[in-house]
């Protein structure tokens, strides 16, 4: 290439790049994505706002709700929505006075269990959440009228509506005017806007800051091991070590592990939501089951079938759901553990 051609080539290259640059910076995404169809929007746009935008028409009575509640909800939330064994209680600690004022007085007192209904300002939220996320293991399985009915029962438990009430899209606004904590919410804080005003104004004192060094709170000795062996939660080499919090494991510990409760399987499959080891929760304790079938020939296979298929009648009327998701191996482990006495 001649010297003059070279001189010419450089500006041309710059020009070419500039043009290519403009072309690549386009935001013309033709052919990428497509318009959502009305049916698709209807299927997914399920949110219900506090102004009831998005609330589908329908109705359900407290009485209908009670029946559904016992079948679909009570195993986790208790018959009266006040159970605490799986989730924090939904109902409790609100008063008729709270319904009048729209402020739950118990929220200003320490040591009170904070139930959902104490905090919840908006009835739309309850409808929206039951509809999208409940029941726990079968979300979105309730029909519209069933959502109204279940919510009606819940509202009756909190004395917001009477027992002969039928909740519908027509009277949701009236219910809203009785929500016990409807007037407690505030946007007067600095944590929504990125330039919001902070609550605190510490200064960066560097020397002789006159801080009271007194320790006001520390972990009691008995609680140190509550999170297990901390030595085993740190590297066992390097600048520091984890603090030993448990006695050293010996052979006994290894042996105990072999027949130990298959905790991972139990929790991964939600078993412990309804069953404890040695007491009845919603369903029987594992120990009770073990004792019942102690002398049954082929008890492992029997237990496998009962776990896999679920059912009701043996231990009461609350049905145990079938467990199709369990692998054959996990199913066997569970059945053998129960057959062996369900040792914790």
């Amino acid at each position: 290439m001649s010297r003059s051609a070279k001189r010419l080539a450089i500006p041309l290259a710059v020009l070419f790049c500039a043009v290519a640059g403009v072309a690549s910076a386009t935001n013309d995404f033709e052919g990428i994505g497509r318009t959502a169809t009305p049916a698709e929007l209807k299927a997914w746009d399920i949110d219900v706002r506090p102004d009831f935008a998005g609330l589908p028409p329908g109705k359900g009575s407290v009485e209908e709700g009670e029946q559904l509640w016992v079948e679909r909800c009570s195993s986790c939330h208790g018959d009266f929505g006040d159970a605490n064994h799986v989730f924090p209680p939904l109902i409790g600690n609100t008063t008729d006075e709270d319904i009048k004022t729209g402020r739950v007085a118990a929220l200003t007192r320490g040591g009170v269990t904070r139930t959902t209904i104490m905090k919840m300002p908006t009835v739309s939220t309850l409808w929206d959440f039951i509809n999208r996320a409940m029941p726990w293991d079968r979300p979105k399985s309730l029909k519209t009228n069933e959502v109204y009915a279940v919510l009606a029962y819940l509202l009756n438990l909190a004395n917001i509506v009477p027992y002969d009430f039928e909740l519908s899209n027509e009277n949701m606004a009236w219910v809203q005017s009785r929500m016990p904590n409807r007037n407690a919410m505030t946007m007067d804080h600095g944590l929504w806007d990125i330039n919001g005003k902070p609550d605190t104004h510490n200064t960066a004192c560097m020397h002789n800051c006159d801080r009271d060094e007194e320790i006001t709170s520390s972990l009691p000795d008995f609680a140190k091991a509550a999170h297990g062996e901390l030595m085993k939660q740190n590297r066992e080499y390097g600048a520091i070590r984890g603090t030993r919090t448990m006695p050293e494991e010996g052979d006994d510990a290894e042996k105990a592990k072999e027949s130990a409760m298959p905790g991972d399987i139990l929790s991964a499959n939600g078993c412990t939501a309804c069953h404890a080891v040695d007491q009845k929760l919603v369903g029987p304790g594992f120990r009770q089951v073990s004792e019942k079938y102690q002398d049954l020939p082929g008890k492992v296979d029997h237990l496998k079938s009962r776990i896999r298929n679920g059912g009701s009648g043996t231990w009461g009327n609350i049905p145990m759901p079938p467990q199709p998701q369990l692998s054959e191996e996990d199913l066997g482990t569970l059945a053998r553990w129960i057959a062996d006495g369900a040792k914790p």
Partner: protein, 456 residues
């Protein structure tokens, strides 16, 4: 010896007489043989159990006196120096060394009774730098995690837009992408400490915190592509595709600023526990707004009153009012090592290290105190120092064996100084669950044991 055990500044003094005089005499006269080497190794191991420290090795050397020939780890070549290593791709997806299995995501016992609605905390006590390994990213699920088939995943934008659209992963991954490093902190991080000290280690006090490089499409690009109605639009709703279909109102300003519809995390696809294949990243805002398994964004003109901004994730104030839609994570810092549940082995030099971050921008400075907040020294900030990302700080400290209280205090680029517990509680009381960004104190006892404390 018994009196020596209580000497400040030492976990336990190394036993000086674990090598007997006879043994040392034999070594002196006849040198090491295989039998004596094995015996010495065993003696090392026995003495090390319960002490396990570099101080011990030194003490053992001294104890061996003139008879000490050298460290068996040097004198005798270990198997890895004298054998063939493993082949490439022996593990198609690499894993940490088997010696690193102590650092795991862990639950805090008693926090939740159902593991599908629980938390697993990141082991901050053992991590370096600012990037959280994806396998150690904290987990918080509301109804369990799911592993979605990406070819069947759809993302929809609807509401106040000219053209509501559906995108496949194919579509999204064709669009312009950005890669940015940001922290994510659960609004309930440090929740258990509002009233008093409740948990022993930084994993449980601060471990709902992670930091990753996220890759995806800026949300603004997608909102523009659908023709967002900027005259009417005020809020966004983000919704997940999992069973809980968690929803959360997002500030339109945050959504248009630096939010990302992200599929990538630390160079690979997002992990299922973190929202595979699609998650909304809202830098500076609490984790619950980073909706996982993202299926839909709705553009609206009113707030949505979702469960996790009304009964949950609303901050209870002492007068019974509840702050709703709290979102921004204010500046916060914590010393990750030495920290609660750890033990210093000996007096002398330590590299005190920790993390600082702010949901309002960059970290400007971190000060560290070794006397419970009376005197402070400015720590060294490591690079990169990025907006709304974790920043690593380090400072050298020579422990004199006396009790000490370690604290860190961040100042962000807005000039905000991380508050003390008394300052924070003076406004918010101690009954809240969310947004606890108070200065953390770690007490170092004479024994070297570090524990979680609060000072007035």
């Amino acid at each position: 010896m018994s009196g020596e055990q209580d000497r400040p500044g030492r976990l336990r003094r190394a036993p000086e007489s674990f090598l007997t005089g006879d043994f040392l005499q034999e070594v002196k006269e006849e040198g090491f043989n295989e039998q004596r080497r094995n015996w010495m190794r065993k003696a090392f191991a026995v003495a090390a159990a319960g002490v396990a420290g570099t101080g011990l090795a030194r003490a053992a050397e001294q104890a061996a006196g003139g008879g000490f020939v050298g460290d068996p780890n040097i004198l005798e070549l270990p198997p890895w120096s004298t054998s063939l290593g493993k082949p490439v791709a022996a593990r198609g997806y690499g894993m940490p060394s088997e010696y690193e299995m102590n650092l795991m995501r862990r639950e805090s016992p008693g926090l939740a009774s159902v593991k599908q609605a629980s938390v697993a905390f990141t082991p901050l006590q053992g991590l370096f730098g600012i990037i959280t390994p994806s396998g150690l990213h904290f987990e918080r699920h509301h109804q369990g995690w799911v592993d979605i088939d990406p070819s069947r995943h759809r993302f929809m934008i609807n509401g106040l837009v000219k053209n509501p659209k559906v995108y496949t992963m194919d579509d999204l991954m064709r669009m312009p992408s950005v890669s940015r490093i940001h922290f994510i902190e659960c609004g309930a991080n440090t929740a258990m400490e509002w009233g008093n000290v409740a948990v022993p280690t930084v994993q449980y006090t601060h471990g709902m915190l992670s930091c990753s490089e996220y890759t995806g499409v800026p949300l603004k690009v997608l909102l523009d592509d659908c023709g967002i109605d900027m005259k009417k639009a005020k809020y966004l709703l983000a919704e997940g595709a999992d069973g809980s279909s968690l929803t959360r109102t997002i500030s339109l300003e945050r959504g248009l600023d630096d939010a990302i519809v992200a599929y990538g995390m630390n160079g690979e696809m997002m992990r299922p526990e973190n929202g595979y294949p699609l998650r909304l990243v809202v830098p500076g805002v609490q984790g619950v707004s980073w909706v996982k398994w993202l299926r839909r964004i709705e553009v609206g003109d009113k707030r949505y009153g979702a469960k996790d901004e009304t009964s949950g994730y609303a901050d209870l104030m002492p007068d019974g009012t509840m702050r709703e839609y709290t979102s921004i994570q204010e500046a916060k810092s914590v010393i990750t090592s030495p920290s609660g549940g750890q033990t210093l082995l000996d007096k002398g030099y330590y590299n005190v290290t920790g993390l600082a971050w702010s949901g309002r921008g960059k970290v400007k400075r971190v000060d560290v105190s070794f006397d419970g907040g009376n005197n402070w020294q400015t720590a060294r900030l490591e690079t990169p120092i990025l907006s709304k990302a974790l920043t690593r700080f380090n400072i050298g400290w020579k422990w004199d064996g006396q009790p000490a209280i370690l604290q860190s205090r961040v100042i962000d680029e807005t000039g905000f100084v991380q508050p003390t517990y008394s300052q924070l509680r003076a406004v918010r009381g101690s009954g809240s669950v969310y947004h606890n960004n108070a200065i953390q104190s770690w007490k170092v006892a004479e024994s070297g044991e570090v524990s979680n404390v609060q000072v007035s």
